[in-house]
């Protein structure tokens, strides 16, 4: 017998003996609304129901979202603490595991100082947990070395937005407005595979006649339908974006009034972009002059436009520059702060937005405060109940932590909710660093490639076994609800951090009994910061379908559209980019004649720890592959399905060939979701952006050999 759950006229199938729990997907920044089906008798998660009334996704889900529930009661879950003895993991009690951690942490700090410990966080966790990671490192362990995997994901966008707009909120507009947009300028975003449920908004706008320009070395699912597909050489984005600025200025598409009133550096920018004529840019980017002209014309003539970008332009050693110039495109047209217009970067991880705002970064404190600012330190120290001088100084970025390990400065690490053994660039170096550590603790719910290096593995929970808030890619703060109790002896990350803090004698700073208590402290910690969550309560989130930050007080409506009146810079004006083009850190040479670029497939999430364990997803895409243009393949006599050896100055790997004309004929594309010998990140370049410290995953030189 079936019944229906009706909310505001939306019906859902509700099976007898089951409970529907309203929550959001655990994967990407879209945070699609969904109901989890729980069998009331067995207490097991049995399926999923679309959540038709969630305004951002309207019930839509990608294959990862549909199958996400299958990880919750998965056979391979780690259910007890594990301690490595003679190279083998042995089951242990929580007490044994925590004793060992306490002993090692204390000994190492006594011998090498507080900074011998380090914490490596992640942004697939709730805001509450992300906030606690920063506090845990600085208050419980007293170390300055804390950073997170968002360094590989969002930091260039954050750096670019901070420079140009003064505040980093991924999207300056709510996505429900996108269907009214007239033009999408999309760069380095494979929307269909990375954020499939965003497509409905693009297609809805297209139905109304919206234009679409896509910049990508591959003819992606959206590029195939674009009005103009700019098939760019990887790593030349800043030239292309400067060329767009050049044409906008040259042909009078600039919103002069807006620029005069609200932007700095217009004259300097005009001077800089003079150089980037379509002819000059065409030589750098490999895109024809006609396409460049057409793209700029369409963008310039559109009354309401959105510039959108993603890892394609950000995961470069000049990622921040790229973000600044693309953002300047929107500024020149006067689009930021208007209805259905603006600029947006798209977060790859579930809480990529919230997770980067609350002090997990090496140099940041909650609410986007800075360790370098004594006032900020004073405020947060006050909330935490420590003295300002106790606050450790800024640490180093995620990849640089491995350098610190190599130099013997970091002796132990606690990795939470992350798998750098797959997701970091130049992974052989990372593996070597893990081997060099005196002591490694990993909290995870599956045996990840990183966990295999661990001395102690602590069983963490999935998203369905805890509650809290996350911030989706629009900047909308939403609620994740607890579906069921944790499996086995697993504990949530906040309980793990609390337990270790107690062992380190700092338990009085972590008095939490439940998540709402953490959230209350978190709200106060963000109060007055750039990312101000103070006015957002759980009740408001439920009633208002999420609340957009900044929201400084409980009677504040939240901020769906950013920068309506002024920007968050000292003089209230945005800074237009005055940035020259620079080549990628590694360009093709005689020995390594082609360009390697990496990315996602729709069936897998990040390092694949979760999705590689879901049967349906593995059936669709079990192994990595190298996508090659048939012209390039013919040079090496390669056919579909052949094996090819790819080599960069760092390492090499063997993968299957997949031929398609939907890629530039001088590029090779390989998805990155697999570990060990299947990890393409063995080959990628760890050159870092000078501002964001983000590695250059998206472009390096590669050699091809038939196997």
């Amino acid at each position: 017998m079936t019944q229906f759950l009706a909310k505001e006229g939306v019906k859902n199938l509700h099976r007898e003996g089951e409970k529907l729990i309203t929550t959001h997907c655990c994967y990407c920044g879209m945070q699609c609304g969904m109901h989890i089906r729980l069998n009331e008798k067995t207490g097991k998660v049995v399926g999923v129901e679309p959540r038709y009334d969630w305004p951002v996704t309207l019930g839509k889900m990608c294959p990862k979202g549909v199958t996400a529930y299958q990880t919750v009661d998965h056979d391979e879950r780690i259910t007890t603490p594990l301690i490595k003895k003679n190279g083998q993991f042995v089951r242990a009690s929580w007490n044994e595991a925590l004793d060992l951690i306490e002993k090692n942490f204390k000994e190492l700090q006594a011998k090498h100082g507080k900074d011998a410990l380090s914490v490596y966080g992640g942004v697939s966790m709730t805001n509450e947990k992300c906030y606690l990671v920063g506090k845990y490192a600085r208050v419980a362990l007293g170390t300055r070395f804390v950073d997170y995997n968002g360094r590989f994901c969002m930091s260039s966008a954050a750096g670019g937005f901070m420079k140009t707009l003064g505040t980093d909120r991924g999207s300056t507009l709510p996505w429900t407005e996108l269907e009214h947009t007239d033009c999408f300028f999309i760069s380095g975003w494979n929307a269909a595979e990375c954020h499939p449920t965003s497509i409905q908004w693009l297609w809805k706008a297209r139905d109304k006649g919206a234009k679409m320009i896509v910049v990508d070395p591959r003819e992606t699912q959206i590029a195939r339908l674009a009005d103009v597909h700019l098939d760019i050489k990887s790593g030349s984005d800043s030239a292309l974006a400067n060329c767009m600025l050049h044409i906008l200025v040259r042909d009078g598409y600039v919103d002069e009034e807006y620029v005069n009133e609200r932007c700095n550096n217009f004259e300097e920018m005009k001077e800089m972009v003079k150089l980037f004529t379509p002819e000059y840019t065409s030589k750098i980017t490999g895109v024809t002059v006609e396409k460049l002209e057409k793209a700029a014309r369409i963008y310039g003539q559109s009354p309401r436009s959105v510039v959108m970008f993603c890892r394609g332009i950000e995961q470069q050693s000049k990622g921040v520059d790229n973000v600044c110039i693309y953002t300047s495109m929107a500024l020149l047209r006067g689009q930021i702060g208007k209805f259905a217009s603006g600029v947006a970067t798209v977060t790859g991880q579930g809480n990529g937005q919230g997770g980067r705002e609350h002090g997990q970064k090496a140099d940041a404190l909650p609410g986007y405060r800075k360790i370098a600012d004594p006032e900020h330190v004073k405020y947060v120290a006050g909330v935490w109940g420590i003295k300002p001088e106790e606050m450790p100084k800024a640490g180093v970025s995620a990849y640089e932590m491995f350098d610190e390990i190599q130099q013997g400065n970091i002796r132990a690490m606690h990795v939470m909710c992350s798998n750098p053994a797959v997701s970091a660039p130049n992974t052989e170096y990372v593996w070597d660093s893990f081997r060099k550590l005196d002591f490694l603790v990993v909290s995870d719910f599956f045996m990840s490639e990183t966990a295999e290096f661990a001395d102690v593995i602590l069983p963490a929970t999935t998203w369905a076994e805890d509650e809290g808030t996350t911030t989706n890619l629009e900047g909308r703060v939403i609620r994740i609800r607890k579906v069921k109790d944790p499996i086995g002896e697993s504990k949530t990350d906040w309980q793990i951090m609390k337990a270790i803090a107690e062992r380190m004698g700092r338990g009085n700073f972590f008095p939490y009994e439940n998540v709402p208590q953490i959230y209350e402290e978190f709200r106060i910690a963000t109060k007055g910061g750039k990312a101000d969550y103070y006015g957002i309560t759980y009740d408001r989130i439920d009633k208002e379908d999420g609340v957009f930050w900044p929201c400084p007080s409980e009677d504040h409506p939240g901020t769906p559209t950013m920068f309506k009146e002024k920007f968050d810079t000292p003089n209230g004006k945005a800074n237009l980019a005055v940035v020259d083009w620079q080549a990628p850190a590694e360009i093709p040479t005689a020995n390594y004649p082609h360009t390697l670029t990496t990315g996602r497939v729709v069936f897998h999430y990040l390092s694949g720890t979760q999705t590689r364990r879901v049967k349906f997803l593995m059936e669709q895409c079990p192994l990595p592959y190298a996508e090659l243009h048939p012209e390039l393949a013919s040079q090496y006599n390669l056919a579909n399905g052949d094996k090819v050896k790819l080599t960069t100055p760092r390492s090499s790997m063997v993968v299957d060939v997949r031929l398609t004309k939907a890629i530039r004929n001088d590029h090779v594309f390989v998805p990155y979701h697999w570990g060990k010998e299947l990890s393409i990140n063995q080959l990628t370049n760890p050159a870092l952006d000078p501002t964001s410290r983000m590695p250059e995953f998206k472009v390096c030189a590669v050699k091809i050999e038939k196997v």
Partner: protein, 180 residues
């Protein structure tokens, strides 16, 4: 149930959510009953969803010697009734779209039943519910008629129609109304 499944191939982004969701339907035993194919991966990333057409006069039912394939009053063509099905697989050969499949382990035929447990109550089938690009939609018959009419009108306004040589040029401008 005056609703129909409406497919728009250009909108398909090849994510196979529809397949994943189909496995979640009641009684599907984690086997999908719809499919997504590449037109020609060598040429383009264009994919298309393949669903049961719920034919008015279904070949699968016509060729079934045991009358095992029932059609509901709403016109939904169901999987073969287990007690009647003799496992001859005529239906799998008869369907021009390759929709019915035969499960050799369970010894029974299965096919898309348009999520009858949902659609009989006016709730979208799982595939149409989750399809992130609206390539599969479960809409009113009138809405479908309007979409088709709009396409014809657009062609009339433009006074032209695509030819084999320039068909791709039409896709962006006529997107969403070009095909059905």
């Amino acid at each position: 149930m005056n609703k129909i499944m409406y497919l728009e191939f250009e909108r398909c982004i090849g994510c196979r959510s529809c397949q994943a969701a189909c496995r979640e339907c009641g009684g599907h035993d984690a086997k999908e009953r719809n499919y997504v194919e590449y037109v020609d991966f060598m040429e383009s990333r264009q994919t298309f969803p393949m669903l049961c057409m719920q034919c008015k006069d279904p070949a699968c039912a016509r060729v079934c010697p045991a009358n095992a394939i029932q059609i509901t009053p709403e016109g939904v063509v169901l999987s073969a009734m287990e007690e009647k099905c003799i496992g001859c697989r005529n239906c799998t050969f008869g369907c021009p779209f390759g929709i019915p499949k035969f499960d050799f382990e369970e010894n029974k035929m299965y096919k898309c039943d348009m999520c009858y447990d949902r659609t009989q109550h006016g709730i979208s089938p799982m595939c149409a519910s989750v399809c992130p690009s609206d390539a599969i939609r479960f809409i009113d018959f009138d809405e479908m008629q309007a979409l088709r009419r709009r396409r014809t009108q657009m062609n009339l306004i433009e006074g032209k129609k695509p030819s084999e040589q320039d068909k791709w040029q039409y896709v962006p401008e006529f997107f969403g109304v070009y095909s059905d």
